[in-house]
Every structure is written in structure tokens, then in C-alpha cells.
């Protein structure tokens, strides 16, 4: 890095190239790909937002949260109640309070309100729980997930209880998820590299040493928890307007473990790792799901074995954990500025001589 003649792109240029490449890819998918591929990309981007924001608490701050899907539920229900067309509201949610019954918002404000509400809940819950450490936080946040679920099931007038919440308008498209994915990655990337992020990592790596330096453990954890709750709720809103009908049971353990698997596979404490984990697992699961229906390899025909994809995924995950317990990326990041530098190899050779 000290080499004055380095031909790396500047961070700004790298960022611009990446953003341009990302949206170019999205345009390609939006106009060129089948709606099946588009659906996969939308689901994948939502997973990226979930995993990257979970990473801020679990990976960077060391607070292992099992309750994030609760924030996703808050975002999904809040935004869905706000965007539901008025006629549908009368039919499906007749017991809403009057001011809500007559409110219909656009997608963006509804999503933002969902995110802010989740942030508020995260603050109120976090004030007491972020004082805990280690496995205790895990148990407490799991309790949070259960509380959210019980409230959703019983708050009939707002959520239709355990019944299917349907009729949500299909607002989520490639551009919305793409935009929010870019915003999430950028904000959390900058956050992790700010002095706040450094304090968070210090707390994760050695809490006592960090405290002795004057870092407020509670405040930093609370900050990470609230920011990540916001983006998790945004992902919830995107998912709600993508799937269009759901019930509280969608926001429970299955989804929780799905994003934790992506987080650990990619590497806790690495944003590019989170992206790789989400992309890799989503695409692998989709390939295996198609493959388990039976494959004709020309010389041999493999009959369909339903459920095989889940088993293979589990085996791959176990192998990964044995040989790379820190995940694919560990705590490192992809260095895109190096990726775009052409003289890299030559320099390396020069350096080794």
C-alpha cells in the first residue's frame, strides 16, 4: 500500500464503478431475464439486506441476536397495513382505528415508517437487554421473537391474527430491492468504518479493554441494534410487498435460522461475506431444488428425491464449518480497488524479488 506508484482506483471511483455495475446488472435482469430469474434476484436481495443488517449486531458488535426476524415482522406488518388499499382495508381489517382505516400511503413512506417503528421497538427492548452478554443475549432476543409472534397472532384488529394477511399490493420490484440493497450495504459499510464501527468492534473483541478506554458498551450496542433493526424492517416491508400474503408463522424460527446460516457461511464481521453468503446459499438452494426433481446426465438418469436439497445444503454447511469455521470471508472484505488494478501481479512479483 505504501507504493507511491500504485494504480489502484480511488475509493470513490471504485464505488461508482461498483454501483454502475450493480445497476447495469439489475437493468439486464429487469429487461432481459424471465420472471422466474427476477423472482430469485428479488428474494436474494431481500436476503442480502437481512444478512448485512444482522451482521452489524451479530458480526461487528458481538451481540448474537436470534430475534431479528421479529423486526422483519414489524416492518412487514406495519408497511402492509399502511399500503393496503382502502377498499381492502374495510373488507379485511374492519376493526382498525379510524385514522388508520382512512390512511393509505405510498411504498416508500410506509417502508420508512415500518423501519422507524422497528427502531423504536429495538431501542425500548435494547435498553434492558443490551446489558447482557454472550448466550444470554441470544436467549433474550429469542424471547423477543416469541413476544412479537404472540402479539401478531392475538392483535386481531390490526393483523388479522393468525389468519392470512392478504391483498398487499405488489410494489416490490427489481429497482426497489436493488435500491434498498445498495443503500443498506453503503450505510452499514460506512457505519462499520466510522469511529462508531471501530468502537463496536473493540467491544466485540475485548469488552473490558474497550470499557477501560471509555467506550460505552450499552450505547454502542444499542446503536448497532437500532440501525440493524431499521434495515431488517425495511427487508420485511419489501418481502411483504413481494409475497403479498403471509401470516405470523412466516416470521419464526425457519426464517431466523436461514439468515443465520447465510451470515455464518459468509463470515461474521464481513459485509462482502454477508453478500457472498446470501447469494451463494440462495442460488445453491435454487439449483439443488431444481436438481432434486431428477437429473438426466445423458448416461445416467437420477430419479427425483424430494428433500435431498435440504440434506445436501446441511452437509455443505457442516463441511464448511469444519474446514472454515470463520466462514468464507472470515472478517476480511473483498478489496474491489485491487480487483480493478491491472499492474497488481507485476508489482507483487517486484515486491517478492
Amino acid at each position: 500500500m505504501e507504493n507511491p506508484k500504485k494504480k489502484h482506483l480511488s475509493p470513490l471511483a471504485t464505488g461508482l464503478v461498483l454501483v454502475a455495475a450493480f445497476f447495469g446488472l439489475l437493468a439486464l435482469i429487469n429487461f432481459g431475464a424471465s420472471s422466474y430469474i427476477q423472482r430469485i434476484v428479488i428474494g436474494l436481495c431481500i436476503s442480502i439486506i437481512l444478512v448485512v443488517s444482522l451482521n452489524l449486531t451479530s458480526g461487528f458488535t458481538g451481540v448474537f441476536s436470534l430475534g431479528h426476524i421479529g423486526f422483519m415482522a414489524i416492518g412487514a406488518y406495519t408497511a402492509a397495513i399502511l399500503t393496503l388499499p382502502l377498499s381492502q382495508k374495510l373488507a379485511y381489517l374492519p376493526d382498525l382505528p379510524g385514522w388508520l382505516e382512512n390512511t393509505q400511503l405510498a411504498f416508500l413512506p410506509a417502508t420508512l415508517i415500518g423501519g422507524l417503528l422497528a427502531m423504536l421497538v429495538a431501542f425500548l427492548f435494547g435498553v434492558s437487554v443490551m446489558r447482557l452478554t454472550g448466550p444470554y443475549v441470544g436467549v433474550a432476543t429469542l424471547g423477543f421473537l416469541v413476544i412479537v409472534n404472540v402479539i401478531l397472532v392475538n392483535w386481531d384488529s390490526m393483523t388479522r391474527g393468525a389468519r392470512t394477511f392478504s391483498g398487499v399490493p405488489p410494489f416490490t420490484d427489481i429497482w426497489w430491492v436493488g435500491g434498498w440493497t445498495a443503500v443498506t450495504i453503503y450505510v452499514i459499510w460506512r457505519f462499520a468504518r466510522s469511529s462508531y464501527g471501530r468502537q463496536m468492534m473493540a467491544i466485540r473483541d475485548n469488552q473490558i479493554a474497550a470499557q477501560s478506554l471509555g467506550i460505552s458498551v450499552l450505547r454502542m450496542r444499542l446503536l448497532a441494534f437500532c440501525v440493524s433493526a431499521f434495515f431488517t424492517a425495511v427487508a420485511g416491508s419489501l418481502w411483504a410487498h413481494f409475497i403479498q400474503s403471509f401470516s405470523p408463522k412466516a416470521f419464526l424460527f425457519v426464517e431466523t435460522f436461514a439468515i443465520i446460516t447465510m451470515l455464518i457461511a459468509g463470515g461474521m464481521g464481513s459485509i462482502s461475506g454477508s453478500v457472498i453468503g446470501a447469494v451463494g446459499i440462495t442460488i445453491l438452494a435454487e439449483i439443488l431444488r431444481n436438481a432434486e426433481r431428477g437429473v438426466n446426465l445423458g448416461f445416467v438418469h437420477i430419479p427425483p428425491v424430494y428433500g435431498a436439497s435440504q440434506i445436501i445444503m446441511a452437509v455443505i454447511f457442516i463441511v464448511l464449518i469444519i474446514f472454515r469455521p470463520e466462514g468464507i470471508m472470515g472478517k476480511r472484505e473483498l478489496d474491489f480497488s485491487r480487483l480493478f488494478s491491472f499492474k497488481r501481479k507485476k508489482r507483487k512479483e517486484a515486491a517478492s524479488q
Binding site: S247, A250, E286, I287, N290
Partner: protein
């Protein structure tokens, strides 16, 4: 680092290849493709595996008899994995790359609503074999049909049978608050029963998965008026436990419920307590006392899968496939629109789970309800009920 990028690129190429492959040739004798999605893995498997087996058996029988319009039926099957996102993807594949002429599947409202709107958008009919919410068709205009009766029908059948035939004038109503199915069932039952003149002396609730009903039982025993019978709206997993605990506490009044009771657990868990229990379901899957159609179905199913049909959902899957085949043959075409119109005009189609007709504009079928009486751990057919009046969905 470079390696992981290469791996990602490879994966993307692989998925594109998988998605684009597999185009079938057309032609006069080309198979008619019907899309089937069931959750053969995950939480819904206990209902969906029998349904799927039933559908496969029906297709096999139809093909053995010469197919439909002289063409064989080909099932294009996807596992929904009890996951709404996967189901949405699978429905998209069925409509887009497999080009099926109709779709069927599911025993759950959420799952049905994850797939049916996608089918409808592509102009393809979706028939759910076992999701009994009568509110479903309104949520997907024109293209979503039920092949089973709605919960309002079975609840009304239960209420009328209790009030008119059994002469029970008062009821204790217990509802699982954790699912749309039980909440609706209980709501429709109460509506019809009070309309008839019956009285609800006490209402109580519990949550899906509760293992202890002692609080509810104590409350019931302390009630000033004791009811003539108990209506418990429960899901399959909780039915056995609920019946056992009420019986163990000495309550021997009749207990009634919906098709959630159609599980072996109803007899296995309460043991001797499994008596004087009534429930409404699609048909009695018993080869000794069932109808001729049921007996024939049980024999064919047993020969194919080496096990008797697990529950009535096997019959529903079977009937749904036959329903679609019937619609295609009457449409004399594989055009999805023509199939939809023919399906909507189905009249008196015999099936394992009873005769099926759709009234004009209503996509929940007119179907008889089987009232089952469990007596000394044995299931018997108490009556075939067609309710006189059905609560609005």
C-alpha cells in the same frame, strides 16, 4: 478471493442453464401438462404427501384408460417445502417454463395464496385440493377454485346435525386462536347454531400447541349452566390431547369438531376416551363401512403405495386431478381459458369425497359433508349432511 468470485459466476451460469433447459416438443399426442405443487417436506407434509399420492394415482388411472382427449396427462411436480418464497418460484416456473395448462395443490390458505395469484396472472386456473377457507376464491379473482367444501359448509353441517338430529340445545365452544382455520370454523359454527336457536353457554380459547387444558376444563365445570355438548375447533396435532384431557376429567358429553379431527391421533391418544366424538370431514376412509367409491380408492391406493390412505386428503388429491381431467375433456381443448370455463360448469361429478358441482359464479363447490361418529374407538358414518343454510364467507 478470486476463487469465490469464479464459483459465484459458475453458479449463476448453472442456474441460468437449469432455468432455460427442458423444452418439451408439442404435437397431437404430446402429453397434457398439469402443474402440481405440494409440500412433501416441511410442516405441511402430513397432509400434502397423501394428497400428492392421490393425485399421482388419479393421473396413472386416467392414462391407463387412454388419457384425456387422446393424450396422456403429465404431472409436472414441484416440492413447495412449506416455504412461501419457494412456492412462488415454483408457480412461476410452472407458468413460465413448463407451460402447464392448469395447476393444483396445497391444504393450507397461506400456501395457496402464495401460488394462485401467480397462476392467475398467467391466465392459468389453480385448484386447491384441501384449503377449506371459503374466503380464498375472493382473493384471487376468476382463477382460484376449491375442490373441497368450505369451512362455512362443514360448520353449518355440524350445527344443524347437533341441533336438529341430536337435539342438543346448548353448547360449550372452545377455539384454537392460533390458526385461520379454527377461528373461522368456530365463527361459522356459532353463527349457524345460534341462528337455529341454540345457545352458547361458555366460550373459551387456547393456543396452537397448548398441552394443558386444565384451566379451560375447570372453567367449564364451574359454569352455572352445563352444556349439552362441546364443540372444539382444533388443528390435527392438538385434537388427541384435547379430547383426552376433557375425557380424563370426567366429562363424557358429546364432543364435536371439523375435518382437523380426521387424523389417527384422535383415537390413538385418548384411547378409551375416544367415544361419543363427532366430526365433519370429506369422506370416511374406511374400507369396511365407506362408500363403493371409497372402497375402490382404498384398494387402488393400497396396491400402489403399500399403505392405506393416511387421511381424507389422499381422496381430495385424487378427486382434484380427476376434476381437472374432466374439465379438460369437456373443454375439448387445452386452452387454459377454456379449461377454466369448463371447470366452473362442473356438475354432479362423482368422486371419492362426494359429488361435486360449482354453482354459477361460486368457486367453492357444493358438496356433501360426512358426519363421522367415533364410538368405542371405532369410526362410523353417522350421516351424510347437506346443510340447509350456509353462513356467508
Amino acid at each position: 478471493m478470486k476463487k469465490s468470485i469464479l464459483v459465484t459466476i459458475f453458479l449463476v451460469i448453472a442456474i441460468l442453464a437449469t432455468a432455460c433447459g427442458g423444452k418439451a416438443p408439442g404435437g397431437a399426442n404430446a402429453p397434457i401438462k398439469i402443474g402440481v405443487i405440494y409440500n412433501v417436506t416441511g410442516g405441511q407434509a402430513s397432509l400434502d404427501v397423501p394428497s400428492n399420492n392421490g393425485a399421482k394415482l388419479a393421473a396413472k388411472e386416467i392414462n391407463a384408460a387412454g388419457g384425456v382427449l387422446g393424450r396422456p396427462i403429465e404431472i409436472v411436480f414441484y416440492d413447495g417445502k412449506s416455504d412461501a418464497t419457494v412456492i412462488g418460484n415454483a408457480a412461476t416456473q410452472l407458468a413460465e417454463s413448463d407451460k402447464v395448462v392448469a395447476m393444483m395443490g396445497f391444504s393450507d390458505s397461506d400456501m395457496t395464496l402464495a401460488a394462485a395469484p401467480i397462476a392467475a396472472k398467467a391466465g392459468i386456473t389453480f385448484v386447491t385440493s384441501g384449503a377449506t377457507s371459503p374466503k380464498l376464491p375472493d382473493q384471487v379473482p376468476d382463477y382460484l377454485f376449491l375442490a373441497c367444501f368450505g369451512d362455512n359448509v362443514q360448520a353449518a353441517a355440524g350445527a344443524e346435525y347437533a341441533f336438529n338430529t341430536l337435539k342438543y340445545k346448548t353448547v360449550y365452544l372452545l377455539t384454537d386462536q392460533g390458526s385461520e382455520y379454527t377461528k373461522l370454523l368456530s365463527k361459522y359454527f356459532k353463527e349457524r347454531y345460534t341462528e337455529l336457536g341454540g345457545q352458547v353457554v361458555l366460550e373459551d380459547s387456547y393456543q396452537t400447541g397448548d398441552k394443558d387444558f386444565s384451566a379451560q376444563i375447570t372453567k367449564l365445570k364451574g359454569a352455572s349452566t352445563q352444556p349439552d355438548f362441546l364443540y372444539i375447533a382444533a388443528q390435527p396435532d392438538d385434537v388427541g390431547t384435547a379430547v383426552k384431557q376433557f375425557r380424563d376429567s370426567g366429562i363424557d358429553k358429546a364432543i364435536m369438531g371439523g375435518d382437523g379431527y380426521d387424523t389417527p391421533l384422535l383415537v390413538q391418544i385418548p384411547g378409551k376416551g375416544a367415544t361419543n366424538v363427532y366430526f365433519t370431514t370429506h369422506s370416511l376412509m374406511d374400507k369396511d363401512v365407506g362408500t363403493e367409491a371409497v372402497k375402490k380408492f382404498i384398494n387402488a391406493y393400497t396396491a400402489e403405495y403399500k399403505t392405506a390412505p393416511e387421511n381424507a386428503f389422499a381422496g381430495l388429491g385424487y378427486d382434484t386431478m380427476k376434476l381437472l381431467a374432466d374439465a379438460i375433456s369437456r373443454a375439448k381443448s387445452t386452452d387454459p381459458k377454456a379449461i377454466r370455463d369448463a371447470l366452473a360448469a362442473t356438475k354432479d361429478l362423482p368422486g371419492v369425497t362426494g359429488q361435486l358441482s360449482y354453482l354459477p359464479g361460486i368457486r367453492v363447490p357444493q358438496k356433501g359433508v360426512s358426519m363421522i361418529l367415533v364410538k368405542d374407538q371405532k369410526l362410523t358414518l353417522a350421516a351424510e349432511v347437506v346443510p340447509e343454510k350456509i353462513p356467508a364467507p
